[in-house]
C-alpha cells in the first residue's frame, strides 16, 4: 500500500510547494526592481551558505552543529526521498544513504528539541515551538518507510494500521517541510534564505575564493536627479524585491534582539520584530501572530499594514511607529549577528529617508540639526569661519596654502566641540612628533554628511558630499587621516558612489603604522587598568579592531577587555543621530556601556571616536575616565627611543597638556 501512496504523497507535497513558491515569489516581486545576476547568484549559494553564513552561525558551536546535522540531514533526505520513494530507485546504496541522512536529521532535531525546552527570551515561540516535533516526524517517518526499501524489514511488515499511522506522521513531516517551506511556516527560512543569499543586495559582503574580507557597509545613494524616483520607503512595496526577500529569510533567532543597544535600553525597537513587521506588511495583515519579544513598551497586535499601505502613519498607527525607527543607533550589531545576513540598518535608513524627505518629520532636535547643516555646513549651527579657532595657536598648515601634503588631516565637526579639541590637539602633537607631512582643509572643510544621511536627509548628505569632493579634488594628498570614525566611514565607503575615492585611515591605524615604523617612542605606562571601547563605525563598519589595541599595547597598556568588545562591542548610543532624535527609554545606552566598563574594573576607558567620548563622558558618577587614544599617545610621547626611560619626560595620564 505504501508503495502506491508514497509517490502520490511526495508528488503532492512537491506540487503544493511549487505553488507556494510561486505565490511567495509574487509577494517579493511587489517590491521595486533591483538588478541582480540570477545565474551567478544561484551558483554562489553553496559557497555563501557554507562559508559566510556558516561563519556567523558557528559563533555558537552547539547551534551550528545542530543546524549542520538537521539541515544537512534534511537536504540529503529530501533529495533521496524523491529518488527512492518518489521514483522508486531504491536499489543499491541510495536507500542506505537515505537511512543515514534521516537518522542524522533525527539526531539534529533532538538537539533542536532540547533547545526549545527552555528557550531564551530572544527566540520566537508560536509555530517555532512545533518545529522540533515536525523535524522528528519527518526524519522518523522517512527512516521508517525506508527500512523496507533497503530490505531491513519485510515489505509487508506490520498491519495496514501501522502503515496508515506512518503515512499520517509522514504527511505531517512533509507538510511542515515542503508545504510549510513555501507557504509561510517556520521552514520558510530555508527557501527564502537560500534565495536571499543568491540575490543579496550587498554581494560584496560575501567572501570569494580569492579572499577579501567581505565587508560592505556604506549606505546606498538615492538617485536625486530622477524626480520620479521615490524618496525612501513609504510602503513595504517601496523596498526592492530582494530586500523583501531578505526580510522573509528571518529565522526569528533573536540574535539581533540580544545585541541591540536600543532594545536593551528599553527604547521601542526590536530588530527582529521590525523585520517580522515588514513581512507582515508585505503579505498584509496584523502583527497579532508574532510570537517573540515585542518592541519595549508597545503591545503586540495593535499594528497592521499592507504591501501598498504606509509603514509609518502620518497620524495614528500603521505598521510601525516612527519612534521605533528613530531609536536605531545604526550600530550594525544586528546586521553583524544576523545568521541570515539581513540588512536591518539599510531598511531603517530607507524608511527614515521617507519620513525626513517627504513627511518632514525628523523628531526632536533632528530638524534643527538638518537646518544647521544646510545653512552652516555643521550640525551645531556654528560659523563656518570659526572652524579653526581652536587651533589659532597651532599654526596648522592649510591645504589652501600648500596645495599638497602626504596626509590630509580631516578634523570633523569635533573642531567646534571643546572636549574633542583636546583630542585634536593631542593628535596634532603626535603627528608633529612623528614628523608627518600633513595639512588641514581649515575653513574649507564641511561636515562629512554622516548625521544628515543617517537621519534620512539624503539631499543634504549629497550636497555636503559633493562639495567636499570638489574641495578635495583641488589638492594632492596620499591619504586622509581622521580621528572621527564617522567621517572615516563616510569618506572611505560612501563618497565613492558620488565620485570621491580616497584612502582613509583612522588615527589609531595611522599611529600604529607610525609606531611600527619607529617614528614614535613612548614612556612606560604608569596609569591604572584600562579597557578599550570599539567604536561601531571603526570596528563593525570598517573592521578595524586590531590597530587601536596595538597602539595601547605599544603604550604598555594591557587592555582589560569588556565582555562585549570587538565585533560584538556595544554602541555608545551616539550613532545614527540617536543622540539627536533622543527617543526615551528605560535607561540610557551610554550608562549601560559605562556599566560594561565598570565590570572590567578599569579606571580608564580608551576610545577612538568623538561621539563615544561625548556620550561616555556624559555618564554621571562613572567609575572610569574617558580618554581618546590620541590623548594617551600624546601624553606618553618621549623625544627619542633612547630617552624612553627618562622619568622627567613621563607624564601621568591625568595631565592633559599639549604644547
Amino acid at each position: 500500500m505504501l508503495d502506491t501512496l508514497l509517490p502520490i504523497l511526495i508528488a503532492g507535497a512537491l506540487a503544493l510547494a511549487v505553488v507556494g513558491a510561486w505565490r511567495r515569489v509574487r509577494l517579493w516581486r511587489q517590491g521595486r526592481p533591483a538588478p541582480v545576476s540570477l545565474l551567478k547568484g544561484l551558483a554562489a549559494i553553496p559557497r555563501r551558505y557554507l562559508v559566510d553564513l556558516h561563519h556567523v552561525v558557528a559563533r555558537d558551536k552547539m547551534i551550528s552543529n545542530t543546524h549542520v546535522a538537521t539541515a544537512g540531514g534534511f537536504v540529503a533526505a529530501a533529495v533521496l526521498m524523491v529518488l527512492v520513494h518518489g521514483l522508486g530507485l531504491a536499489e543499491g546504496i541510495l536507500g542506505w544513504v537515505l537511512l543515514a541522512a534521516s537518522a542524522t536529521m533525527f539526531a539534529g532535531s533532538c538537539f533542536v528539541a532540547r533547545r526549545r525546552r527552555n528557550p531564551p527570551a530572544r527566540l520566537s515561540k508560536g509555530p517555532w515551538m512545533r518545529l522540533p516535533k515536525s523535524l522528528m516526524a519527518f526524519s522518523l517517518s522517512t527512516f521508517a518507510i525506508t527500512l523496507p526499501a533497503v530490505g531491513l524489514l519485510p515489505e509487508d511488515f506490520g498491519s495496514w494500521i501501522l502503515a496508515l499511522v506512518l503515512s499520517a506522521v509522514l504527511v505531517w513531516g512533509l507538510g511542515e517541510m515542503f508545504f510549510g517551506m513555501t507557504w509561510g511556516g517556520p521552514m520558510k527560512h530555508a527557501f527564502a534564505g537560500a534565495l536571499h543569499l543568491a540575490f543579496h543586495r550587498r554581494p560584496d559582503r560575501f567572501s570569494t575564493k580569492e579572499g577579501g574580507e567581505g565587508r560592505s557597509t556604506g549606505l546606498k545613494a538615492l538617485n536625486l536627479d530622477d524626480h520620479e524616483a521615490p524618496l525612501g520607503v513609504e510602503t513595504p512595496s517601496d523596498f526592492t524585491w530582494n530586500q523583501l526577500l531578505g526580510f522573509d529569510a528571518c529565522v526569528q533567532c533573536g540574535r539581533c534582539e540580544a545585541v541591540c543597544p536600543a532594545f536593551a535600553a528599553g527604547q521601542p525597537l526590536n530588530p527582529k520584530k521590525l523585520i517580522q513587521d515588514m513581512v507582515v506588511g508585505m503579505a498584509g495583515g496584523s502583527d497579532a501572530e508574532y510570537a517573540g519579544s515585542p518592541y519595549p513598551g508597545k503591545p503586540v497586535g495593535e499594528h497592521e499594514g499592507s504591501a501598498d499601505g504606509p509603514i509609518v502613519a502620518r497620524q495614528g498607527k500603521a505598521l510601525v511607529d516612527a519612534d521605533t525607527l528613530w531609536s536605531c543607533t545604526t550600530c550594525r550589531a544586528c546586521v553583524e549577528e544576523c545568521p541570515m545576513m539581513i540588512e536591518h540598518v539599510d531598511a531603517i535608513v530607507d524608511m527614515r529617508r521617507f519620513m525626513t524627505l517627504e513627511h518632514g518629520n525628523t523628531p526632536n532636535k533632528g530638524a534643527e540639526v538638518l537646518d544647521n547643516l544646510i545653512a552652516t555646513d555643521n550640525p551645531g549651527g556654528f560659523d563656518p569661519g570659526a572652524r579653526m579657532h581652536w587651533a589659532a595657536d597651532l599654526a596648522l598648515p592649510l591645504m589652501a596654502d600648500r596645495g599638497e601634503a602626504e596626509v590630509l588631516l580631516w578634523l570633523g565637526d569635533g573642531a567646534y566641540d571643546m572636549r574633542n579639541q583636546r583630542t585634536l590637539r593631542s593628535l596634532v602633537k603626535v603627528l608633529r612628533a612623528a614628523d608627518v607631512d600633513f595639512a588641514v582643509l581649515g575653513d574649507e572643510e564641511r561636515d562629512s554628511g554622516d548625521v544628515a544621511r543617517r537621519l534620512g536627509d539624503e539631499a543634504t548628505f549629497q550636497s555636503l558630499a559633493k562639495r567636499n569632493i570638489a574641495t578635495l579634488s583641488k589638492y594632492r594628498f596620499k591619504r586622509i587621516v581622521t580621528c572621527d570614525p564617522h567621517s572615516f566611514h563616510v569618506l572611505g565607503n560612501e563618497y565613492g558612489e558620488l565620485g570621491g575615492e580616497y584612502e582613509v585611515r583612522h588615527h589609531s591605524t595611522f599611529i600604529a603604522e607610525l609606531y611600527d615604523a619607529g617614528k614614535l617612542a613612548f614612556a612606560p605606562w604608569k596609569g591604572g587598568r584600562v579597557t578599550y571601547h570599539d567604536p561601531c563605525y571603526l570596528g563593525r563598519y570598517n573592521g578595524e579592531f586590531e590597530a587601536p589595541r596595538n597602539v595601547l599595547k605599544a603604550l604598555g597598556i594591557e587592555v582589560a577587555e569588556m565582555e562585549r568588545s570587538g565585533f560584538r562591542s556595544r554602541c555608545c548610543g551616539g550613532g545614527g543621530g540617536a543622540a539627536i532624535t533622543d527617543v526615551p527609554g528605560k535607561q540610557r545606552i551610554p550608562d549601560m556601556r559605562m556599566g560594561d566598563v565598570g565590570e572590567t574594573g578599569a579606571d580608564m576607558v580608551a576610545v577612538g571616536c568623538p561621539q563615544c567620548t561625548a556620550m561616555l563622558e556624559g555618564v554621571v558618577d562613572s567609575t572610569a575616565e574617558v580618554r581618546d587614544i590620541a590623548e594617551l599617545v600624546a601624553n606618553a610621547l618621549v623625544e627619542a627611543p633612547a630617552s624612553a626611560g627618562d622619568r622627567s619626560q613621563a607624564q601621568g595620564p591625568q595631565a592633559v597638556e599639549v604644547s
Binding site: 526632536n364 532636535k365 551645531g380 566641540d417 571643546m418 572636549r419 543622540a579 533622543d582 526615551p584 540610557r588 561625548a614 556624559g618 554621571v620
Partner: protein, 445 residues
C-alpha cells in the same frame, strides 16, 4: 551717600553771610539753598518757609540759622544735586521735536530717556534757532519729564490697553496742529514701534526704523544723516534722516544735567473721534478689541524667551522645594541633561548645547556641576549664580556668584528671604493698590 560729615569752616562762614558774593552758590552746594530760597522770574528772591529747617530728634522742626545743618534734612548730596540742576527754558522755539515715549507702567523707560536725549540733540543743534522738545503722552505726563529733557508736554487723553487706532488719531491731531519738524518714537516691539509705523503709513511718510546714530549734515533735507539697522540687524543703512524716526535704545545719552520747563501744550482743536470705516463682510464688531493680558505661568515660559531661569541638576534632591522656589521667585524652570534623563524634568526644559540655548539675564544653577555642553548653552547669560556643594566644579568657576552649600537649605532660605521682603513691601505699599500692577507693567516693558 556720605555718612561722615566733613566740615568746611570757610563754607559755613559764607553760608551764614548773606552778603557774600558766593552765598547762594555755597548754599546750593550745601544742599539747602535751592530748596528753600531761589531767584524768582522777576529777579526777586523767593523763599519757601516749609523747606527750611529739619526734623529734630523729638519730632519737632528745628531751624538752624547758622545754615550748616540744613543740608542733612534734605537727604544728602544726591537729592540736593537733583534739585540744583540748571534750568533751561526755550520760550520761542524755532521748531518742535515731538517724542512719544512708551511709558510702560506710567514711567519713562530707559529707552524713552535715550530718545529724549536724541530729541535734545536735534533741538539744540543750532544755538541760534533752538527747537523745543515736546513729549506727547496718553494720560498725565510723569513728574520727572522735566528732568528728562522736555520743554513742552502734550498730554492727550488716556488710552487704556491695546488701542492703536485711537492713539493714531490723537497723534494725527497733534501733527495737524503743531506740525513738528521731527517725530521720535522708540522702536520697541509693542509700543512706539507699532505706533510709529502706523503713523508713517497714515501720514505717507517714509520713516527710519532701527536708528541708532545721527550725524549733522547740512546737505540733508532736515540737516541730519542717520545710521539705522536694517535686514534684521545685519546691515547698517546710512541715509538722510526723515521726519519720522523710530530709534533703538542707547541711540543717545539721556539728559541728566539740566532741567527743562515742561510747559503744558493744549490741542486747540480738541480731540477728534475715531471712525472705523466699514469692512467687507458686514460683521458688526469693533476693529480690535482688547480682552486683556492672559495669565502666564512663569515656569511654563519657553526657555529661550525666559529672562530669569532657575535650573536644576544632578545635585537637587528636594524637587518639591525646587519647584516651590521657582514659583516664589517667579523664575522659569530649567534643567541639566542629567535631571532630564533621570525623568525629574521634561525634555523641553533641558538647557545646554544639546538642549535649549538660553539668553536669560539671570541664570541660577542649582546643583549643576557644569558640563561643557551645559556651559556652552548658557554662554549668553549675563549673571550666573551657582548653588553647589562642590566648590571646585566648572559651574562655580563660571558663576558670578557661587554659594557653596546644600542646595535645598539655601533655596529654602532664599524663599524665606524673598517672602519676608515681600511681606515688608506689602506693609509699606499696601496703601497704593496700583503699585504692584505698575511694577509688573514696568517689568513687562
Amino acid at each position: 551717600m556720605s555718612e561722615i560729615l566733613r566740615r568746611d569752616p570757610r563754607k559755613e562762614w559764607i553760608a551764614r553771610n548773606r552778603l557774600h558774593p558766593k552765598h547762594l552758590e555755597v548754599l546750593a552746594e550745601l544742599g539747602r539753598g535751592a530748596a528753600s530760597e531761589w531767584m524768582g522770574p522777576q529777579g526777586l528772591v523767593r523763599k519757601n518757609p516749609h523747606a527750611v529747617g529739619f526734623m529734630g530728634p523729638h519730632g519737632i522742626r528745628r531751624i538752624d540759622r547758622s545754615g550748616v545743618q540744613q543740608g542733612q534734612g534734605a537727604g544728602g548730596a544726591r537729592a540736593s544735586a537733583a534739585v540744583s540742576k540748571p534750568r533751561v527754558e526755550i520760550d520761542e522755539p524755532a521748531f518742535l521735536v515731538t517724542v512719544v515715549p512708551d511709558m510702560g507702567g506710567g514711567r519713562l523707560s530707559g529707552h524713552d530717556r535715550d530718545l529724549l536725549g536724541l530729541a535734545r540733540q536735534l533741538a539744540d543743534a543750532d544755538p541760534d534757532a533752538r527747537g523745543a522738545v515736546a513729549v506727547v503722552t496718553f494720560g498725565a505726563a510723569p513728574e520727572d519729564v522735566d528732568e528728562a529733557g522736555a520743554d513742552r508736554v502734550i498730554a492727550l487723553e488716556a488710552v487704556e490697553g491695546f488701542a492703536p487706532e485711537r492713539r493714531l488719531v490723537l497723534l494725527e491731531a497733534v501733527e495737524r496742529e503743531f506740525a513738528p519738524r521731527h517725530w521720535l518714537l522708540p522702536d520697541s516691539g509693542l509700543g512706539g514701534g507699532d505706533l510709529g509705523r502706523r503713523m508713517a503709513a497714515r501720514l505717507g511718510e517714509r520713516p527710519v526704523t532701527g536708528l541708532w546714530q545721527v550725524i549733522e549734515d547740512p546737505e540733508a533735507p532736515l540737516g541730519w544723516q542717520c545710521t539705522a539697522r536694517g535686514a534684521a540687524g545685519s546691515k547698517d543703512i546710512l541715509r538722510p534722516m526723515p521726519r519720522l524716526v523710530m530709534a533703538l535704545a542707547e541711540c543717545a545719552e539721556p539728559i541728566s544735567e539740566t532741567r527743562h520747563a515742561a510747559t503744558p501744550l493744549m490741542l486747540e482743536a480738541g480731540l477728534p473721534e475715531v471712525s472705523e470705516p466699514a469692512l467687507p463682510g458686514g460683521v458688526d464688531a469693533p476693529w480690535i478689541e482688547d480682552l486683556g493680558q492672559v495669565p502666564v505661568d512663569p515656569a511654563g515660559v519657553a526657555l529661550s524667551e525666559a529672562e530669569f531661569i532657575l535650573s536644576a541638576g544632578n545635585g537637587v534632591r528636594d524637587w518639591d522645594g525646587f519647584h516651590e522656589a521657582a514659583k516664589v521667585l517667579g523664575a522659569t524652570e530649567g534643567a541639566s541633561r542629567v535631571a532630564v534623563d533621570d525623568g525629574y524634568m521634561p525634555r523641553d526644559r533641558q538647557v545646554g548645547a544639546t538642549g535649549t540655548w538660553v539668553t536669560a539675564r539671570v541664570y541660577v544653577a542649582v546643583g549643576i556641576s557644569g558640563a561643557i555642553q551645559h556651559l556652552q548653552g548658557i554662554q549668553p547669560c549675563e549673571k550666573v549664580i551657582s548653588i553647589n556643594m562642590d566648590a571646585g566644579c566648572d559651574m562655580v568657576k563660571r558663576a558670578d556668584l557661587a554659594v557653596i552649600g546644600d542646595a535645598a537649605a539655601v533655596l529654602s532660605a532664599l524663599v524665606a528671604r524673598v517672602q519676608s521682603a515681600r511681606g515688608q513691601e506689602g506693609a509699606t505699599e499696601s496703601s497704593d493698590a496700583s503699585a504692584t500692577t505698575d511694577k509688573e507693567a514696568r517689568n513687562a516693558a
